[in-house]
Symmetry: C3
Subunit: 148 residues, 3 copies
């Protein structure tokens, strides 16, 4: 096989791998990397929905092989933001989810509109500048979208 | 063309076809296979939402060429599970949807939590161990997500 | 490199580019084309949800670089259709969104069911024969799905 042909074949294989990795997240990753990704939206001011979102995250982890096999992010914004305030009725469950490796993030656009600052919120959560943009980005990265 | 180069080209073509098939469901399928796929979530205890979900399935089928051109699955879980109990107010409409080729599945995680067993449910529906995992898997398979 | 091998390599590169373009919308587009696409569903008869959908569209535009960098479409159907009637309480905000380059479309299936015709609706909006089919098509085109 001539050298240039061999080089072309190699480049092609590399391009395919890159493409597979970009368009099918998880496929080209090692077996020890998360394969099941979902972003869970919380935008209702409704504790039943908050519990459902937390149940969903727990069920996904237990059904799909635990934190090692899943990448879950709960994005909280709009009227849902009270889920993550210090006095949240689901504070303990949020802490449990964080400990189980679920990412939980609050929308800073919403916080600004409601005059909330980081000290008003639950400990150990994450922050994103825009909840809705985060939902878009995660879907573009291959996360499934779930809205309980 | 040397044999090894030819073999590389063939492998590359096969890999491309596999990749196209995996990342763009429907594209590499025959013309007689479903091309429009959607998973419809029902998780509210609200008969208006149940009717909307059933309307949506019907509209998709009539607008996109019937059951032959569509693959629709209604996934029922959480507070929505009453839609599929034997005494459901939309029992007749669920039977119609099933006859029209729409898949309707109940979440067994939810059923266990509500002490429901298969005999408590409508006939001919399907079952999945986790509704939320089913929604993730279908999206990964290229199904659009609809939450009425 | 023999000619046939060279041709194979070229075809492979072209196929890869086509595949990349098809499976990752935006990637192969020029820098002046929209890169962030989302379809926003409005199907609730709830002015708070209408305002949230309009807020979401505005936030996405301001966070992602304005109308030049985003392609947003609000799809209104089912019980949500009142958002786009002439007497809508959010008429002014819908006009603002349209002026900002957000597409806003009403479902004609819903309009027919509610005996609404185009003169009953807000000016300058668009129409689709089926809101739910539009949501499916947009997701198949790589739009993220948002349901406030």
């Amino acid at each position: 096989m001539p050298n240039r042909a061999r080089r072309s074949a190699c480049l092609t294989a590399a391009a395919l791998a890159a493409l597979a990795s970009a368009s099918m997240p998880g496929l080209a990753q090692g077996v020890d990397r998360p394969l099941h990704k979902a972003v869970i939206q919380v935008s209702d001011n409704d504790p039943q929905k908050w519990n459902l979102a937390l149940n969903n995250a727990g069920n996904v982890q237990s059904d799909l092989g635990g934190p090692e096999a899943t990448e879950l992010e709960i994005v909280v914004y709009g009227p849902g933001i009270a889920m993550l305030k210090s006095d949240s009725p689901v504070a303990k469950r949020v802490a449990d989810a964080l400990r189980a490796g679920v990412k939980v993030v609050a929308c800073e656009n919403t916080m600004r509109a409601q005059k909330l600052t980081h000290p008003d919120m639950l400990p150990d959560i994450g922050y994103v500048s825009s909840g809705v943009v985060e939902l878009m980005k995660r879907q573009q990265q291959g996360y499934a979208y779930l809205r309980p």
